[in-house]
Symmetry: C2
Subunit: 318 residues, 2 copies
């Protein structure tokens, strides 16, 4: 086995890449603007040129085992990106093949939350854990499920969309997926901001959040208000955490993981979100599972996590 892998994280705005060793140290990294490229061919061209430049600069040309890519709607089985609503290119993109042609290295793709799970298993909080669920709390809510030490891809490569289990079957919020009542519509960063607006409109109690223009309130504003002791803001975290905990109790029913690992902006709220999650999870969980599943935070530095997660896939690329 060669000593390095390449990790590429493709986001809607930026694409970040890095050269990573087996311990999860990023030797060097770079990025290009995803948004800039209307044609995927131009994107792949520039991306690969930047990567090859970095590889040459670090003098590791013959020392790279493989390439891992995390991309929205990335399909592990056929190396494509399929109908991603967050990327500029439509339809089915044979990205792994396109990258292999340029980089002359084996390339493996999966979606970003799956990459995060593999990253956590390879370098982070899930080392040595064979059954866990990774939950990424960001603009959306993503998940990567690991069973028997293997990522769950399902028959089509798209398993693990736990942000889209239905939490409210009546009068549920409209979700970006077009359905209503999804976990993501409540517990993503935008979901938290929506909860804030709902609470502020329906209720009359005081809150420092009332000083902000209601349409501009973000989850960060709610966090800051909660940290300063604002009761309404704390209740918003309780509401969000309670729904996550109820959802986690159902997730445990499925795969009985040793741990659920949280990653992303909202997870940074620490006990503000963890306490209600833990309480709701234990309150709602089936008896045989009580007290067995740990709630953990990701151990990967947030700025590195995307590249590390993607790179971890590079070790299994062939």
């Amino acid at each position: 086995m060669k000593p390095y892998v390449l990790g590429i994280d493709i986001g809607g705005t930026n694409s970040v890449f890095g050269i990573v060793d087996a311990r999860g140290t990023i030797l060097a990294s770079g990025s290009i603007k995803t948004q800039k490229y209307a044609a995927v061919e131009d994107y792949v061209n520039d991306l690969c040129n930047e990567i090859l430049k970095l590889v040459k600069q670090e003098d590791v040309e013959d020392k790279i085992e493989g390439v891992g890519v995390g991309a929205p709607n990335g399909n592990y089985f056929n190396g494509t990106i399929e109908y991603s609503p967050n990327l500029p290119w439509k339809g089915i993109i044979p990205l792994a093949q396109m990258l292999e042609n340029k980089l002359k290295l084996p390339v493996t793709i999966t979606n970003d939350a799956n990459a995060a799970a593999i990253g956590e298993m390879t370098y982070g909080a899930a080392r040595g854990i064979k059954d866990f669920i990774m939950i990424t709390l960001g603009t959306g809510v993503g998940s990567g499920i690991v069973v028997n030490g293997q990522l769950v891809y399902g028959h089509d490569g798209f398993a693990g969309e736990l942000g889209h289990v239905i939490m409210r079957r009546q009068n549920g919020r409209l979700c970006g997926c077009g359905r209503t009542g999804c976990l993501e519509a409540y517990t993503s960063a935008t979901g938290v901001a929506r909860t804030a607006r709902e609470f502020l409109e329906i209720r009359t109690d005081e809150s420092s959040l009332r000083l902000l223009p209601i349409q501009d309130i973000t989850s960060k504003d709610v966090y800051e208000a909660a940290v300063s002791g604002d009761k309404l803001a704390i209740e918003i975290f309780n509401y969000t955490g309670t729904m996550l905990g109820e959802a986690f109790a159902d997730f445990v029913t499925f795969s009985s993981p040793k741990a659920i690992i949280l990653f992303g902006g909202l997870a940074r709220a620490g006990e503000l979100i963890m306490r209600p999650i833990r309480e709701a999870m234990e309150k709602n969980i089936l008896n045989i599972f009580k007290g067995k599943t740990e709630l953990l935070f990701s151990e990967l530095k947030e700025s590195d996590a995307a590249v590390l997660g993607a790179s971890a896939l590079g070790w299994e690329a062939k």
Copy 2:
């Protein structure tokens, strides 16, 4: 590999056992009454004597590869039955060890729904399918989940309790597990009977079910009324199937199975239950999964399925 395995299905009332070949043919079978034994030692003693008698009678003493056991709350990892509410013996029973001591053969245990899934994969509708979910619709609602061709046991051996995902978070029915709103409280045979009683009490429309004493109505009565065209009975199946379909849409979000396989009494209602399941599942499923997951019936004869499922585990016993 030797040509036969032993399958033992332990139920609350009866324990059935059989000698099975690699194609799923039951060479010979027998049973004893589980209920009769207050002490598990006496039970194991009699069960093993009956089995050894059968083995001798069939002249297969040196031809048995292993023993598989399906039992409520059976734990695959440590070979125990843990706190089963449906069996006469309390606490943790080291059943695999007890059977090994008597039978001098390797014994593997799992719960009955997991055994059904393995049976289906080895001899039935799931042959060649690497990702599927088995749903058993009986007195309770059980499940066995297969991912990458492996049963999902979770970190503690108890994964796959999908009868206990929460379908109604408010005003949910009390479930046998002590919580409220579980899938099982609505879609088990007893759940269907409860729905019938609720519908009959709340509504005033005619139904042949009104001729029966309301407390005695069973899911079989509802089935028979529905088959005869009784509108209320048909609606009860629609209600039940719709909830199953909504639940299945969430299950797909988790493991994206190629198929969901139904087994048990309620599944025998055929299109009466399958049509609403299919419609609700497709209506509620995330776009990327639409039209991809098949709904199948078990292909194992119901009277043989329990022994076949348990026996299939015998091939991996060691």
